[in-house]
């Protein structure tokens, strides 16, 4: 099934299982969801549980947070990460802080989903990849599905958490198809997954970049280079042991991230390798990130700005040239 369908089924399953679960967000109901994830759910669950909101990101995300404190289990859909900036205060200063600031009295079991990423020629304001910012914030957990199975499992896993969980769904993934086992255990989503085992170099990616990275690994394989692809899956908590274990075996790493280079989450991964696997490295960790430009509309410019399989493969080759 598609990534979109997997997400929808997880929402439906969760809503059937627990009457406190509901979905709210802009155009999740009558419109059917701007990425059609929730299409049909309004008819199935009614307007009390599939709640269309006004364009008030701070207001309805804050309301979602409040409703979680009040005993509901909201799934708040912020249409895209771009608009989540308008709700950032509620997420960073309320959702993330309340448990600690209240001395452990008040938890915020809210799940916030949003589309992220570029690649559809939507221009600078609609192409952000800011999940790394959220991963900076203690009190939040951040998941980034790269395959339909995870699109499904992560929603269910997130709803089990007593604390706020953000799920970033790359907008280019919704049409991706793969088998999904809806009965599979979901706890694994908090750990990085080796999507392709390999020996010579570790390619580390998450979310929408995993596909490109697998393509890069295929290209490298054609050149006789056996690359491992590690899908981080959870950015917070970050599965540092899995990263270190892989690099200790391969001695080289390329980190791929659609965020702009400077201050990218890839920098964090590079720093963790520095701290945890320095003596295993045969070459410096490389990063393949977006160019330092507001993502342009024109296709040739957008393509040039974003990480590509070619750039990933060539970064890997660059490392193998060393040492």
């Amino acid at each position: 099934m598609t990534f979109r369908e997997a997400a929808k089924r997880a929402i439906r399953t969760a809503m059937k299982r627990d009457s406190r679960v509901f979905l709210m967000g802009e155009d999740v109901g009558r419109y059917g969801g701007s990425y059609a994830v929730s299409k049909g759910l309004l008819e199935e669950f009614g307007p009390e549980r599939i709640v269309d909101t006004p364009l008030s990101e701070s207001g309805f995300v804050g309301a979602g947070i409040g409703s979680a404190i009040g005993g509901l289990r909201p799934i708040v859909e912020v249409m895209t990460v771009n608009f989540s900036l308008l709700a950032l205060d509620q997420i960073v200063n309320t959702a993330a802080t309340l448990r600690h600031m209240s001395g452990g009295q008040i938890g915020v079991p809210v799940v916030i989903r949003m589309a992220t990423g570029a690649g559809r020629q939507l221009g600078a304001q609609h192409s952000h990849s800011l999940e790394g910012w959220y991963a900076h914030v203690p009190g939040l957990k951040v998941l980034t599905p790269s395959v339909p199975q995870d699109a499904h499992a992560m929603i269910l896993a997130a709803l089990r958490e007593p604390d706020p969980v953000l799920i970033f769904e790359h907008q280019l993934l919704y049409n991706v198809e793969a088998d999904v086992d809806e009965a599979a255990p979901v706890d694994g989503v908090w750990h990085a997954a080796i999507r392709r085992p390999g020996e010579r170099v570790t390619l580390i990616a998450y979310g929408g970049s995993v596909g490109k990275t697998l393509l890069a690994a295929d290209a490298l394989a054609r050149d006789g280079i056996d690359a491992e692809v590690l899908d981080l899956r959870s950015l917070r908590p970050l599965d540092v042991p899995a990263i270190v274990r892989s690099v200790e075996r391969t001695h080289r790493a390329v980190v791929v991230d659609e965020g702009w280079l400077t201050g990218s989450f890839a920098a964090e991964v590079s720093a963790r390798i520095m701290e945890g696997a320095f003596y295993s490295l045969d070459a410096p960790v490389a990063r393949v990130c977006s160019a330092e430009v507001p993502i342009p509309y024109a296709k040739h410019l957008e393509d040039a700005a974003l990480p590509s399989a070619e750039r990933i493969a060539s970064a890997a080759k660059g490392l193998l040239a060393h040492g």
Binding site: E26, R30, S34, A298
Partner: protein, 324 residues
């Protein structure tokens, strides 16, 4: 200004041009020449044409992502608008922006903004600059009914009213924010209520009637130039097409749309008005169609032929210059 025949025909011409231009865009989208999000203005032509034709060249215009019409009426060459959507270097934003980000600094068109309501604070600032620099310009700030729910709407109304700034808030109320009908996103559907609560004179106008739109805008702009302080106009209109090219329109009935198209088309309404006054003949109408067809064909040819921005310029316009 009373509307003379020539001026009136020009209004018609612009509305028709916009309608045809949007059809051209839709076709180009189908052909894969335009990509990204594309929001068309069919049905709302009287709003941009009527209001912008009442403004002066020194006035500022801040629009939304549904802003082809605003660029056209402002005078941005058609070829550069199309080239923009084709991602070409001759585009009015060099192909960096696309349909949602048409800019034309010379004509004081400050975009094209894809963040709902984000243009409102910007407009307050442009008006602040005019006030401080003792310029008599008005800042025309366009936004949809959906933007009214964003906090920036209230913040901007309050700032403009508090500081008595020359902002003309122009709400393009097409009754839907994507798939959410006005009554399902606003507790009070009278959109003049909030501006009035801030002490801002506000008026609702039939946005399907270009003459009324123009008159109301003229009055409001004149009032702002006379007595400093913002004004608010709600233009009641309707979007004939889908929200964007991805919208299945599950949220409204075909009948509703058909009714609006059949009975409230701003172009047909205005044509009838013109014919009543004997200002429009069949020949004149045909002439308009023909000249518009030619104009669009030329623009298309220009846009098609235009070069792409060279890849070396990928990061060229991020900063004006490197730091010392």
């Amino acid at each position: 200004m009373t509307l003379e025949r020539a001026g009136a025909l020009e209004l018609l011409r612009r509305m028709v041009l916009i309608r045809r231009f949007e059809a051209t865009c839709a076709e180009a989208y189908g052909a894969g020449k335009i990509r990204g999000f594309l929001h068309l203005y069919d049905g709302e032509e009287a709003v941009a044409v009527g209001s912008l034709s009442a403004l002066a060249p020194e006035d500022n215009v801040v629009a939304t992502y549904r802003e082809h019409a605003h660029a056209i009426v402002r005078g941005t060459p058609l070829g550069t608008i199309l080239a923009e959507m084709f991602g070409k270097a001759t585009g009015c934003s060099r192909g960096h922006g696309g349909s949602m980000h048409l800019f034309d600094a010379g004509r004081r068109l400050f975009g094209g903004n894809a963040i709902v309501a984000a243009g409102l604070p910007l407009s307050v600032g442009l008006a602040l600059a005019d006030a401080r620099l003792r310029r008599r310009a008005v800042t025309a700030c366009y936004f949809g009914d959906g933007a009214v729910a964003e906090g920036e709407f209230q913040e901007s109304l309050n700032l403009a009213a508090l500081w008595k700034l020359p902002v003309l808030f122009l709400c393009e109320n097409n009754r839907y924010a994507m798939g959410t009908a006005l009554s399902r996103h606003q507790a009070t559907t009278d959109l003049c209520a909030q501006p009035r609560a801030h002490g801002i004179p506000a008026e609702s106008v039939d946005g399907m009637d270009v003459v009324l739109v123009r008159e109301a805008t003229e009055r409001a702009a004149a009032a702002i130039r006379e007595t400093p302080g913002p004004r608010f106009l709600e233009f009641r209109t309707y979007r004939f097409r889908a929200h964007s090219m991805y919208d299945a329109e599950l949220y409204r009935s075909k009948d509703e749309v058909r009714d609006w198209m059949a009975n409230h088309d701003p172009i047909r309404t205005f044509e009838a008005w013109l014919r009543e006054r004997q200002w429009l003949t069949d020949d004149a109408r045909a002439e308009i169609d023909a000249s518009i067809a030619a104009e669009i064909a030329t623009a298309l040819a220009e846009a098609e032929a235009a070069p792409l921005e060279p890849l070396e310029r990928l990061t060229a316009d991020v900063y004006a210059e490197p730091t010392p």
